[in-house]
């Protein structure tokens, strides 16, 4: 793969403070599953990676975190961009990936091939960053999800456009593995929300 100028451009202009701010959104998001937040830091990521997903990569990935890219992302300059800006290596093995990025419309058939952690070390699992079309706090377009579990007082309703059809089934399987399992961050352009493995998703 040749490095194009796309791969070298972008990145945070103030990495220390921008990655801190993105991390705090992710921390608050994991602590309050389903909370929709908007990223303001410009990651300058190449298409088809979304701005929120790009900011997450810059914030969390480095040479200690092998990254898996879905087919659509793998054939773009996204891989070279992540490699150049974070030092992360790309892996084709889902089970080795600490982070996996999936472009909008990618339809995962199973979460089981990703690292799920072990019963002794359930933290050694992949975090999946899944791009969807849009996230809404209020009813309107999209599929309604009713979330409950740690971090949520009673329940929280969100509406997601472009959620893969298989998601509900895969999430139920993932929940059944607890404490093992993957954690998911849904991104839509500059928006994001987190679904840690503890979250129950009802329709």
């Amino acid at each position: 793969m040749t490095i194009t100028s796309d791969a070298l451009s972008g990145g945070f202009s103030e990495p220390v403070f921008q990655s801190q701010s993105v991390f705090r959104m992710l921390m608050d998001g994991m602590a309050r599953p389903g909370l929709i937040q908007r990223i303001v830091s410009d990651a300058g990521q190449p298409e088809p990676l979304g701005p929120a997903a790009g900011a997450i990569a810059l914030t969390l990935c480095d040479h200690e975190t092998p990254v898996f890219l879905s087919a659509g992302l793998a054939k773009s300059t996204v891989g070279a961009w992540i490699g150049f800006h974070t030092g992360a290596t790309l892996t084709r093995e889902k089970a080795e990936a600490r982070f996996a990025f999936l472009e909008a419309g990618a339809a995962p058939t199973s979460f089981g091939l990703f690292a799920l952690g072990s019963q002794e070390y359930p933290d050694r699992s992949t975090t999946l960053v899944l791009e969807v079309k849009a996230l809404h706090e209020e009813a309107g377009a999209g599929q309604k999800l009713t979330l409950s579990g740690p971090g949520i007082l009673q329940s929280r309703d969100i509406w997601v456009e472009g959620l893969p059809e298989s998601f509900h089934r895969l999430w139920i399987d993932n929940r059944a593995l607890f404490p093992r399992g993957i954690d998911v961050i849904l991104t839509a352009d500059t928006d994001l929300l987190c679904l840690p493995r503890t979250t129950r998703v009802g329709a």
Binding site: P15, V16, F17, S19, Q20, S21, F23, R24, L26, M27, D28, M30, A31, R32, T59, L60, C61, D62, E64, T65, R98, S118, Q119, E120, Y121, P122, D123, S125, T127, G149, P150, G151, I152, L153, F178, P179, D183, P196, R197, T198
Partner: protein, 293 residues
């Protein structure tokens, strides 16, 4: 002479922060589970809050307002020292007011005032493993957590009852988080355990020497272990605070003389000051009344 480098914002380098941040996210996703992390040497000694300091350094930003307490008080020397450290390396705003803080780093107490949404409570943890005193080997305790095998802990608590007629653990009292992991709440008195349950704040725990981070998300069940015939109870003080007359708060005993004279005052100094500012006064602070009599 080698030239000393200047230090990054919040002391830690960015690579270390990322590593800690990843551990924090996994810790939140698996409430009560201890995530191993590559704890760094810090410029303060192990056992003095290096875990809490690393967690705070990894999460803190220029917008944050930091409060640091030790034994409930903002003015204990170690709290002063850690607060000064963050003022120096991160130039953040600091406060003693619980309500104004976005991040509260603590050793041994949870503030009396109810924490709110958006606040983060960072605990300094000496021994993160609740089963450690029953089983010294990490290889064994890890298995016990994996299998959710907590019988030993119940046996220990029950032995207490057999010997002393009650559970004699008064601090670092084990809790079960979100119905799965048994967790050490750090050496806070069990008086504070109920505050962890369904708290609105995010609770993060850092153990530097033992290299573990764990978390309790907001609105999460935190249940103190007990038995039907010996339900969990917190400490109750007969006295009220001698300075602010508060009841139902944790009190420190202050020895006044060598003849057994003593008084009880709030452990949470901020809460006590706040109450006094609002006109509450305890027996030691009512000279005008005494003078009138």
């Amino acid at each position: 002479m080698t030239e000393l480098a200047s230090y990054n914002f919040a002391y830690l380098d960015e690579q270390t922060k990322r590593m800690i941040r990843r551990a924090i996210l996994k810790a939140i996703a698996i409430p009560g589970y201890q995530v191993p992390f590559a704890s760094r040497e810090m410029p303060m000694p192990y056992g003095w809050g290096t875990g809490g300091v690393q967690v705070t350094a990894a999460i803190i930003g220029p917008e944050d307002v930091l409060k640091v307490i030790d034994q409930g008080a903002d003015d204990t020397t170690n709290a002063v020292s850690i607060r000064a450290f963050f003022q120096k390396v991160a130039d953040v705003a600091v406060t003693t007011h619980t309500a104004d803080a976005t991040i509260i780093q603590t050793r041994h107490r949870i503030p009396e005032r109810k924490l709110s949404e958006g606040q983060v409570l960072v605990y300094q943890v000496p021994i993160p493993e609740p089963l450690r005193f029953l089983e010294p080997r990490e290889t064994e305790t890890r298995k016990m957590h994996a299998l959710e095998e907590y019988g030993l802990m119940h046996v220990k608590l029950y032995e207490d009852i057999a010997r002393h007629g009650r559970i004699s653990t008064t601090y670092a009292y084990p809790v079960k988080v979100a119905g799965r992991y048994v967790m050490d709440p750090s050496p806070t008195p069990k008086f504070d355990n109920p505050k962890m349950h369904m708290s609105e704040a995010l609770q993060l725990f850092g153990a530097g020497r033992e290299k573990r981070i764990y978390a309790v998300p907001p609105h999460t069940d935190v249940v103190s272990l007990d038995f039907e015939d010996h339900p969990f109870e917190i400490q109750r003080f007969e006295q009220s605070c001698a300075l602010c007359a508060a009841h139902g708060v944790y009190l420190d005993e202050v020895v006044l003389d060598d003849k057994g004279g003593r008084m009880f005052v709030c452990s949470d100094t901020d809460n006590c000051e706040d109450r006094r500012e609002h006109g509450h006064s305890g027996e030691m602070l009512a000279p005008s009344k005494e003078a009138a009599e």
